[in-house]
């Protein structure tokens, strides 16, 4: 069913008319041209498509676009502000927490929501919070380290 859907995307309001059952992932990637959100499995199993909706983590590959009407969506493209990387992004660069980089946007946004809920996570809590995001290249150790660093940084800043 075609419907007009309005929501806030990375701080700007957008409105588009499309089949409201389509998933947010493909609307972002095609209609809206934001390709930083990745397709990895299409079944909410890998986390490559992770975005933030109203401050909560969401897997956009299984999220119908109609369910985000009026909501606030943050994608990887919206995380850096005026060319300045977010501390989590900084920490990923600093710790080489990526190889091929395909899982990276999803990892960063998942970490973002993790730190939102729990600004001072223990290592175990980080592992638990990241458990369902997959990385085939095996960057896990560095990702954990990056999140630890980011948490420190953000605490300092906050």
């Amino acid at each position: 069913m075609n419907e007009t859907i309005s929501f806030t995307l990375n701080g700007k309001s957008v409105s588009l008319t499309t089949d409201s059952q389509r998933t947010l992932l493909w609307v972002l990637r095609t209609d809206l041209g934001l390709t930083g959100t990745k397709y990895g499995c299409g079944k909410a199993m890998c986390g490559a498509c992770t975005v933030i909706v109203n401050d909560r983590v969401a897997r956009s590959c299984t999220l119908p676009i109609r369910s985000i009407k009026g909501k606030n969506v943050l994608t990887i493209e919206g995380l850096a502000k005026n060319g300045k990387l977010h501390p989590i992004q900084e920490a990923f660069v600093k710790h080489d927490a990526l190889q091929c980089g395909f899982c990276t946007p999803g990892m960063i946004l998942n970490a973002y929501s993790l730190l939102l809920k729990n600004p001072e996570p223990t290592r175990e809590e980080i592992i638990e919070g990241m458990e369902y995001n997959l990385c085939r290249c095996g960057a896990h150790i560095r990702i954990i380290r990056a999140i630890e660093t980011a948490a420190q940084e953000m605490k300092g800043a906050g």
Partner: protein
């Protein structure tokens, strides 16, 4: 800024998507210094001529522009292992420029020199030296120019950060940018230039952060599926239910009514095209299709017996001495069979391609490890000339050997040709599991003899279903023979699904079998596994690695075997790299689950360009290796692949990752070797050995699923 050009070449941005052909490109470069190479005739750093002789064409390897930026053109691609950084680092060091001033243009067949492909840890050892020579040559030319300009003899000049200065009077200086201004120097490298030696390096051997990190953390990095060009449509292909299935009938009437959808068929290839990939995918479900399905010969459980029972001709790949006389010297004979199933590459980025015909030129963006191989296949398939086919490789989201075969690109090209518009095809995860070229399932049978002295005196090693890489003995065994059998009695290939190289092909299975067997023998002879290996390895390089790893791990002989400590070790050898892994595991005997607590890896990579990068590679290998050792195995019934997504095909997760420690043996004077693979090959062996040490249960088949572990525990002696 050259950055723009890099963007275009790498990623094909909408505005200027078709830069010039290489010839035009070189003409258009304007001022600057370009060093050409004829690949295959290149004097490399060590005097040997390496590389492919296939195309003795001239190629621009690097260019120093008027803006002082250095552009490096390479047929290598960035799959995640970091050549974008290590190659830039190498070049920047030889040229004495800041790392940030190097731009990499990778995997574009129009702009970059021929390259056989990015795999097997070959980038560093084979391409690195060539690049260093080119960098050194360019530097020599620039110093020559500076000598004239500053009126100072060459030997009084030095370079730092792209500035040439008089060593005796530092205010006398000129930048590379100034030197190249208005000049158009094109030089073919003819003899081996003077490259730097240890001690002269500024960047080589230093940890640096990845050059592509910023793009990758902001979502800016473009992968093939992210590229958009005018008029393109997205394709989703109808995946047959079974390998070898043939379409009997197809009814497209429902899909024909979907606005904007188009069904395209080329023989067995059936696809729906639509502006939106999700709508194309949904439409596939409305195609009415019937198939003829071939009969299953085996499944994931019966495959091993099937191979052995139906084995056809075998080939001897290595032999020495005489097996029979060796056996006579033996005090103990040990005979075992080792099994390893199919595994999938499962890169996080599924295969993707975008194909565009324009006039008589074809451009293909592809997630591939072999842009030039793809171009060759396309020219053959389409009867087009090489000048008219261009393959561009954006960032690739992991390959591991799976992106050497380019099925998706061929499919996209066929569809684009029929549809007469640009077609982008991204495999779904299910397509990815179905069409993947799996690491082949294989059986290894080993019969070996140990003399009273603890020396291995005979070694008979038979492989079924895969090749011999990694089976070469680094143990000193006087009497040995290795055979490989890959075909059935009727001459057919053993496998019914597609198979191909998987990170260090064959070596994972061969190392698992050999290293398990070494431990079985050590236990039989009642010798500590480390001591047993040292008794049987004389190669000094290898012994150094073994000892360094054992030191780091804190290996001590146990007073009984199995010791209950859960310690294991395994050695391996891949692309000239000796590697050893030590591990500690904890096994829950009730559930059969294995916790890997700690892994130590020692390897000798020769001169390490980027130690941080090498360490990351080791971590990546060990983490990925947990998968094939513990869970990863493709289930199937004949041509029906059962695992289709990550619910049943389990990749390693955060909570599985052990403490990982890496020892890189210092060997700066020996040539660089690739670190992208060696560490992974020992994971099967080291963990089965550790599980044995923990429980006394020996697993002869990997992955060590909880079920298999429980079974082995139940039947332990």
């Amino acid at each position: 800024m050259n950055e723009d050009k890099l963007q275009v070449a790498e990623h094909g941005h909408d505005e200027d998507i078709y830069p010039l052909s290489r010839r035009e490109f070189l003409q258009s470069l304007g001022s600057g210094i370009v060093i050409f190479f004829a690949v295959g005739q290149v004097p490399t750093a060590r005097g040997q001529s390496r590389g492919k002789k296939e195309r003795p064409d001239f190629n621009a390897y690097l260019r120093i522009g008027e803006d002082g930026r250095v552009t490096c053109f390479t047929g290598k691609v960035e799959l995640g292992q970091g050549p974008i950084t290590s190659l830039a680092q190498t070049l920047a060091d030889e040229l004495d420029v800041p790392l940030e001033s190097v731009d990499m243009v990778m995997g574009d067949t129009d702009l970059c020199p021929f390259d056989a492909g990015t795999w097997g840890s070959m980038t560093t050892p084979y391409f690195g030296p060539v690049l260093r020579a080119a960098g050194a040559e360019a530097r020599a030319i620039l110093i020559g120019l500076a000598a004239v300009r500053l009126k100072v003899p060459k030997d009084r000049l030095a370079v730092k950060d792209g500035v040439v200065f008089d060593k005796t009077n530092k205010s006398q200086k000129v930048t590379y940018a100034q030197l190249t201004e208005g000049k158009k120097i094109q030089k073919r490298l003819e003899q081996e230039p003077q490259i730097k030696t240890v001690g002269q390096y500024n960047l080589i051997g230093k940890p640096v952060n990845r050059l592509d990190a910023r793009k990758k953390v902001t979502g800016e990095a473009k992968y093939t599926g992210d590229i958009r060009i005018a008029g393109m449509v997205c394709a989703k292909i109808l995946r047959p239910p079974y390998h070898g299935a043939k379409v009997k009938s197809l009814d497209t009437s429902i899909v024909d009514k979907i606005e904007g959808a188009q069904v395209v068929r080329d023989g067995e290839l059936i696809a729906v095209l639509h502006k939106y990939p999700d709508i194309a995918e949904k439409a596939l479900g409305s195609l009415q299709v019937e198939y003829d399905i071939p009969k299953a010969r085996f499944d994931d459980k019966t495959v091993f017996d099937y191979f052995v029972d139906n084995a056809g001709n075998s080939k001897v790949t290595a032999q020495g001495g005489n097996i029979e006389s060796g056996q006579k010297l033996a005090k103990y004979m040990v005979e075992e069979t080792y099994l390893n199933g199919y595994v999938s590459h499962a890169p996080m980025e599924p295969h993707a391609a975008l194909a565009h015909f324009e006039d008589n030129k074809l451009t293909v963006w592809a997630s591939t490890q072999t842009p030039f191989g793809l171009r060759r296949d396309l020219t053959r398939e389409l009867g087009m000339s090489e000048e008219n086919v261009r393959v561009i490789t954006p960032f690739v989201g992991g390959g591991f050997g799976g992106k050497i075969s380019n099925g998706q690109a061929m499919q996209a090209v066929k569809l684009a040709k029929i549809a007469k518009k640009p077609v982008q095809l991204v495999w779904t995860r299910e397509d990815e599991f179905f069409y993947d070229t799996f690491r082949p399932a294989a059986v290894v049978k080993i019969k070996s003899g140990i003399a009273d002295s603890g020396k291995i005196v005979s070694w008979n090693y038979d492989i079924y279903g895969m090749g011999s890489r990694g089976s070469q003995l680094f143990y000193d065994v006087p009497n040995h023979r290795t055979t490989v059998c890959r075909e059935l009695k009727n001459g057919e290939n053993m496998h019914t699904v597609a198979t191909g190289p998987w990170r260090a092909p064959d070596n994972n299975t061969n190392s698992f079998a050999r290293e398990s067997h070494i431990d079985v023998m050590a236990a039989r002879a009642k010798i500590d596994p480390l001591e047993f290996r040292l008794k049987n390895i004389t190669d000094e390089r290898f012994r150094r690695v073994l000892k360094a790893g054992a030191d780091k791990f804190g290996w001590t002989p146990a007073n009984k075997t199995p010791s209950g400590r859960g310690y294991g070790m395994a050695c391996g050898f891949d692309v000239n790299v000796p590697v050893v892994l030590f591990a500690e595991v904890k096994v829950d005997e009730r559930t059969g689950s294995i916790e890997v607590k700690r892994v130590v890896c020692a390897q000798d990579l020769g001169l390490v360009i980027n130690p941080e990068g090498a360490t990351i590679q080791v971590e990546g290998c060990i983490t990925m290796g947990l998968g094939y050792a513990l869970t990863e195995e493709v289930h199937f019934q004949g041509g029906d692949v059962i695992d289709m997504n990550f619910d049943s095909y389990e990749l390693p997760r955060f909570s599985w990752v052990p403490k990982i420690e890496t020892v890189l043996i210092e060997a700066d004077e020996s040539p660089s070797r690739g670190g992208g693979e060696p560490a992974i090959i020992c994971m099967g062996g080291v963990l089965t050995n550790a599980v044995y040490d923990a429980t006394g249960a020996r697993l002869f088949q990997i992955p060590m699923t909880p079920e298999r572990v429980r079974k082995a525990i139940a039947s332990r002696a």
